[in-house]
Symmetry: C2
Subunit: 337 residues, 2 copies
C-alpha cells in the first residue's frame, strides 16, 4: 500500500479518558493527512449474546472486515456472566501476538536512558487458559497450556519482526528449568524457528534472570519473545523503565493479518472528561498501526512529532510533570507535523 490509498480502520475509543485520547489521535491523523477513515465502535451497555460480553458483534465484524483497528482503554463492567473485554477481543479475533516496542523517550528522564527493545508476548494461551478448578476443599489448581501451534506462530512472528525491523537478536524467555514440559515445548518451537533465521542471534534466558538483567542493563536485550504471563509481567516491567504504560505503544497481531493497536493503560476514571489525559500511548499505538499498514512515511512523521513535543518539554501533561491539557499537547504535536 502507499501513503495515499484510503483505508478504513476500526476505532474503539473505550471508556474513561478513552474518548479524549482517541480525539487526539483523530486530530493528529487529520493534521498529518493520513488517508484513514475511522469506523467508531463503543462498548455496549448490555451483553451481546453472540460475543458473551459487552462488546458488540458489529464491532468485532468491523475489525475483521477492516483488518486494522485502534483501541483505547476499556474498563470491564463488574458482574457475572460475561467475559473481560480485553480477553474477549484477544480470543474472538485470535490476537496471538502482543507486540510492545519500548524505548527511552529523548528528553523525558527516568533512571534509564538506554532502553530500546521489543517484547513479543504469546497472547492466547499459557496461564490465561481460564481452566481452573478446586481439587478438594482448600486445594485449587490452574492449568497452563502450551501448544506447538501457538508457540511456533508467535516465534515465527518474533523472528520475522526482528528480520524486517533491522533487529539482531531474539531472546526466548522461559522457566523451562522448572516447567520442563510446557516451557520446554515453547523453547523447542523457538529453536525450530531460529534455525530458519541464521542471521538473527538466538538465545534463551530464564525469566528470573531476565528481570534482573533488565533492571541492571536493559541494553542487553533486543527482541524478547515469551509465553503469555511472562509477557504480561516483562512488558510492564519494561514500560516502567521508560516511564510507564502512559508512554508505551502496543499492537496485537491476529491470524489473517489483523492488527489491533491499543493503549494498555487504564481508563483513569478520576481524570476522565477533564482534558488532562496523556494521549501518548494511544498515539504511539496508532503509529504501530500505520507501520503495520506500511504507511512508513506518515508513521515516521507522526512519531517524530510526538517525540519532539515530549523532548522539548514545553507541552507535557500532568503525569509527565507538566501542566498542559490533552488538547494543548495534541495541538503542539500537530504544530510539529
Amino acid at each position: 500500500s502507499s501513503d495515499s490509498t484510503p483505508i478504513r480502520a476500526t476505532l474503539f475509543p473505550g471508556d474513561g479518558i478513552g474518548p479524549e485520547i482517541a480525539d487526539s489521535v483523530k486530530q493528529v491523523f487529520k493534521a498529518a493527512d493520513v488517508p484513514i477513515e475511522w469506523e467508531e465502535h463503543y462498548v455496549g451497555d448490555q451483553i451481546d449474546p453472540r460475543t458473551q460480553s459487552f462488546l458488540t458483534w458489529e464491532s468485532l465484524e468491523s475489525v475483521r472486515r477492516n483488518g486494522v483497528g485502534l483501541k483505547g482503554p476499556m474498563a470491564t463492567p463488574i458482574g457475572k456472566g460475561h467475559r473481560s473485554l480485553n480477553l474477549t477481543l484477544r480470543k474472538e479475533l485470535n490476537l496471538y501476538a502482543n507486540v510492545r516496542p519500548c524505548y527511552s523517550l529523548p528528553g523525558y528522564k527516568t533512571r534509564y536512558d538506554d532502553v530500546n527493545l521489543i517484547t513479543i508476548r504469546e497472547n492466547t494461551e499459557g496461564e490465561y487458559s481460564g481452566l481452573e478448578h478446586q481439587v478438594v476443599r482448600g486445594v485449587v489448581e490452574s492449568l497452563k497450556i502450551i501448544t506447538r501451534q501457538a508457540s511456533l506462530r508467535v516465534a515465527e512472528y518474533a523472528f520475522h519482526y526482528a528480520k524486517t525491523h533491522g533487529r539482531e537478536r531474539v531472546s526466548a524467555i522461559h522457566k523451562a528449568n522448572i516447567m520442563q514440559k510446557t516451557d520446554g515445548l515453547f523453547l523447542k518451537c523457538c529453536r525450530e524457528v531460529a534455525e530458519k533465521y541464521p542471521e538473527i542471534v538466538y538465545e534463551e534466558v530464564v525469566i528470573d534472570n531476565c528481570c534482573m538483567m533488565l533492571v541492571k542493563n536493559p541494553a542487553l536485550f533486543d527482541v524478547l519473545v515469551m509465553p503469555n504471563l511472562y509477557g504480561d509481567i516483562i512488558s510492564d516491567l519494561c514500560a516502567g523503565l521508560i516511564g510507564g504504560l502512559g508512554l508505551t505503544p502496543s499492537c496485537n497481531i491476529g491470524e489473517g493479518g489483523i492488527a489491533l493497536a491499543e493503549a494498555v493503560h487504564g481508563s483513569a476514571p478520576d481524570i476522565a472528561g477533564k482534558n488532562l489525559a496523556n494521549p501518548t500511548a494511544l498515539l504511539l499505538s496508532s503509529v504501530t498501526m500505520l507501520r503495520h499498514l506500511e504507511f512508513h512515511g506518515k508513521a515516521d512523521q507522526i512519531q517524530n512529532a510526538i517525540l519532539s513535543t515530549i523532548a522539548e518539554g514545553k507541552y507535557r501533561t500532568a503525569d509527565l510533570g507538566g501542566s498542559s491539557s490533552t488538547t494543548d499537547f495534541t495541538k503542539a504535536i500537530c504544530d510539529h507535523l
Copy 2:
C-alpha cells in the same frame, strides 16, 4: 538464646566458589567470636536413594537436628533420575518461606539508592508442583497448585515478620484477575491473616503492575508476600535493583522453625578456586541465620562490618569493580569488627 550459648549449625559449602565463600564466613564468625560450631556437609558424588538426589541423608538429618544451616551455591549435576538439589532441600525440609531482604548498599552505586524491602516467597507449591503432562501431541500442560494450608502459612510468616521487624506494610502480589481460583485463594488467605494484624497495612498488587512500580519507585514497597513463581521473579528483579544476586541474602524457613540461609547466586565455575569470588551474599545470609537465632548483637556487628567495608570501597571484589581477592576482602571485614 543469648550471644554466648554455643550452637551447632549445618554448613553446605556447595560447589564452584562455594568453599571459598564459606571459608570467608568461617573467618568472619571466628573473628566476631560467634558461638557457632559448623557441621560441614558436601554434596555426594552419587545418588542417595533415601533423598533421590546427590544430597546425602546425613546432611539433611544434620539440618533437621540443628534447626539452622547455611548453604553455598550447589550446581545440580546434569543427568536423569535425580532431583534438583535446591528443590530437594526445599521439599525434604519443607522450607515453606523464602525470605529475601533487599536494600541499597551504602556506597555501592546503582540506578537506585532507595531500596529497602523484603520479599517473602511461598516456596513449596504453585508453579513448582512438578505436575506436567502431554495432553495430545503438541499440547502440554502444567499444573499450578495453591493450597489454603501453604498460603496461610506463608501469609502468617509474612505478617509476623513485618510485625517483629518494625515493618509497616504487607503487599500480596498476585494475578487473581486471571487466575481467580488459585491466586484468588492465595489472596483470601492473606486477607484472613491480615485481619489478625490490624497494625500492619495490607494491600494487594497485581504482579505486572508490581514490577512496573518496583522499577519506577521501589520505595513504595515494604514487605511483599507471594506465590512461588512470582517470588522467584520479583526477588531476582529486586536483587537487580541493588546490584545483583552477589549482594542479596536469602533465608528459607521450614516447618518446626528450621532456618536454612543461602546464597542464591550460581557457583561460578569459571572463577572457582581463584580467590576472586565475592562472599557478600553468603555473609549477609549468615547474618539472617544469626538473626533467626536471635543473636542480634553478633548479627549487627557482622552486618555493619560487611556494609562498611563495601561502603569504604577500598577492598572490593572484581564483580563490584574492585580488584581485591576473596581473602583480602574478608580480612578487611574482620578488621572492621
